[in-house]
């Protein structure tokens, strides 16, 4: 083995060992690396109790209720399996819509209502013109009609 090949082997094994170490650390930290918990995870008591955390999911269709003060909003976050009612006072992002992704930070009160102090919109990775989105929606409706 030439010295430079030996050197290369040492570097390569060093990088591999380091990569392995990082992979193991990340694996161990995985549960702490999540940005938000889904309603199912909250229902399974995986979310921290009594501390501020984030929940994420979809805003349930037809669940948004604006309160009479004009800035307080009640809505339901769902992951299609479990739901969490959320109450929030403040300005909502433009993309906050029924049926769309949302991430809310706050605390879960004893009555099971999530009191949010920050609401962020989570959008998906699809980009298309409105006409294409309309056509897709039309196709989806037709498909559901046909399967019924």
């Amino acid at each position: 083995m030439k010295p430079r090949h030996k050197k290369l082997a040492i570097i390569a094994s060093g990088v591999t060992a380091l990569g392995l170490a990082v992979a193991l650390v990340l694996n161990a930290f995985e549960s702490n690396m999540v940005f938000f918990f889904s309603p199912s995870q909250v229902a399974a008591n995986e979310a921290p109790v009594g501390k501020s955390f984030r929940i994420g999911g979809l805003v349930e269709e037809g669940s948004i209720r604006r309160q009479s003060d004009g800035v307080t909003v009640k809505f339901i976050v769902t992951d299609t399996a479990k739901v969490i009612p959320v109450v929030y006072t403040g300005i909502l992002p433009d993309l906050f819509k029924e049926g769309k992704g949302v991430v809310a930070q706050g605390k879960l009160a004893a009555d099971g209502v999530f009191r949010a102090d920050e609401v962020l919109a989570k959008h998906d990775e699809n980009y298309m013109p409105p006409e294409a989105a309309g056509a897709l929606e039309q196709a989806r409706i037709q498909k559901t009609v046909m399967t019924k």
């Binding site: 940005f35 918990f37 994420g56 906050f96 920050e118 962020l120 980009y127």
Partner: protein, 246 residues
């Protein structure tokens, strides 16, 4: 093989080769930026969810891709320099760092500008954003470590260690949106799946990416030439070069 490629691993011959290549890449970058920006602003349709605001994607995604790609290139060159003691590869690594850092900053900055209107926040500590910020710190760490060591060959070696260690961050950035729940959405374009974008949007984004690539090659070659001149200033060929230009 008629061409002896190793000839160009000598700084002196690379200096002249790079000098010839720079104008080509510069012209390609200018043309592609013009075409890409035109498509981005005028041809690509408005998005169904985000309206016109999504158009920042035409610089955000290419910048983010370049930030990761250039880091890998930097680490490869630095690693080759460390393993085989080749001067030019270490100089290439040093030359790549500032451009890589610039693209990382651009990706973070445009991301913040995009995040405020769409998500409702300039910055969140999710896995994607945090790992991209770490990438910026890795670039800055690489550059400041090299700047702190006077002997260029020792600086090359120390920098190479940082560069190689930092490579683990690249798959973390790329897969962060898959491995963890993040606010940042998943990849719209990937090797395994068909793109989740309208064709004209995708075309614009890819042209902008190639434009960024051409720009990066051009400025990195310029920087490499400067580094070669600085480090080889006591050699005969640089002396002759000065004689010629006088």
């Amino acid at each position: 093989m008629a061409i002896n490629w190793f000839k160009y691993s000598s700084p002196a011959s690379f200096y002249f080769l790079a000098g010839k290549m720079i104008p080509l890449f510069t012209i390609a970058a200018i043309i592609l930026f013009a075409v890409g920006l035109y498509i981005g602003f005028f041809v690509a349709p408005t998005d169904f969810q985000q309206g016109e605001a999504y158009r920042i994607i035409f610089i955000h995604v290419p910048a983010a891709w370049m930030s990761m790609f250039l880091y890998v290139m930097m680490a490869i060159w630095a690693g080759i320099g460390l393993a085989f003691n080749t001067r030019l590869s270490s100089m290439m690594a040093t030359a790549i760092a500032p451009t890589g850092a610039m693209f990382t900053f651009l990706a973070l900055w445009t991301g913040a500008l995009w995040g405020k209107p769409m998500w409702g926040a300039w910055w969140v500590w999710d896995a994607r954003l945090t790992s991209e910020l770490i990438l910026l710190f890795l670039y800055i760490g690489f550059m400041s470590l090299q700047a702190a060591i006077d002997d260029p060959r020792r600086a090359d070696k120390a920098g190479a260690v940082i560069a190689l260690v930092g490579v683990v961050n690249i798959p973390i950035i790329y897969f962060s949106v898959k491995w963890w729940n993040t606010l940042h959405q998943g990849a719209s374009v990937s090797i395994t799946q068909s793109p989740k974008m309208a064709t004209t949007m995708l075309t614009g984004m890819l042209i902008m990416s190639i434009a960024c690539w051409m720009y990066a090659i051009a400025v990195i070659l310029m920087r490499t030439r400067t580094i070669i001149l600085e480090r080889e200033r006591h050699t005969v060929w640089v002396g002759e070069l000065q004689g010629v230009t006088k």
